[in-house]
Amino acid sequence: MRSLGAGFWIALLLAAAGFLVVPSLIASAPVEPVMGFVQKIFYFHVPCAIMLFLSTFVCAGGSIAFLFKGSERGDRLAVAAAELSVLFGVCVLTSGPLWGRKAWGVWWQWDARLTSSLLLFLMMVGYLIARRYGGPAGRKLSAALALFAAINVPLVYKSVDIWRTVHPQTTVVPKLDPRMRPAFWSAFVLMTLVWALLLTIRVRLERARTELAALRLDADELAEERQ
């Protein structure tokens, strides 16, 4: 297995620095007057949602490369990104209800944003299930599912503008209080770095698995030759 590149270690150092800086920036950001202290969930809830979207797009990109060009590299990238979609989906769908319980008085509302986000998450879970249990066609089935999930992403994003929902609209980030921006953008950069690091190590694992499978084939052939 090839060693990790310099980019990985730089990203790791930056992420470590981010873990020291971001909490203090979030703590020093002003408390939102309407929702109060619970609004601080926003600083990681929104970056997690963006990482969910990004992972789904990367998964779809890898799946397209696999489906139409037979790229094994694309397939490895797709499965790594699909797992990250599920991971960040869990983060979004747990931090959101905690925020909602305080802000709306309920854990969950079947409104357009929440429901479409849940559907996106379930589609990515479906990707992993189809891949694992779909048999020989599992990889192609899951790759096709990833394309539908990617189509769902713009719908999830615009759902708050198209339908009347309890969820804040897409204008929240552009209209953010300037005193809250350093905390939000630093949290976003930190989350992006963490995402990139996770994707790198997960792709590495997939590459190692491919190498192991090839070695097993070689070992089997060798055993047959010896018999």
């Binding site: 297995m1 109060g36 202290f37 619970v38 601080k40 969930i41 990681f44 809830h45 997690c48 797992e83 991971l87 869990v90 983060c91 747990t94 931090s95 905690l98 925020w99 319980r101 305080k102 963490v194 996770l198 190590i201 997960r202 590495r204 694992l205 190692a208 698995r209 190498e211 192991l212 070695l215 097993r216 070689d218 070992a219 060798l222 055993a223 030759e225 010896r226």
Partner: protein
């Protein structure tokens, strides 16, 4: 001729009666709704939702999930690397005699 007129009249009266009943039902429904008044409820226990705890739980879940994922992937890399090393050793040991 007389019979036809009587039949038409009966049908018309039936329609009028149905419409009148519908109007009465609607008006009485609205009247009942208007008659209802909000009753002020006092001394209800105020529900305090602890914001600080929710923020801590949300951040905790996010970072625990990320950490758990790192541990799982790292364990997977370690296991696969170990298997690769074992297999390479086996192939080298039992490889074809040159």
């Amino acid at each position: 001729m007389t019979r036809t007129t009587t039949t038409t009249m009966t049908a018309t009266w039936k329609r009028i009666r149905t419409a009148a009943l519908a109007v009465i039902a609607l008006v009485s429904w609205s009247g009942a709704a208007l008659a209802q008044q909000f009753e002020k409820v006092e001394n209800l226990p105020r529900q305090e939702v602890p914001a600080g705890r929710f923020v801590a739980i949300a951040y905790g879940i996010i970072w625990l999930a990320v950490l758990a994922y790192i541990v799982i992937v790292a364990a997977g890399i370690k296991r696969v690397n170990q298997e690769i090393a074992d297999l390479k050793r086996k192939v080298d040991r039992h490889g074809p005699k040159a």
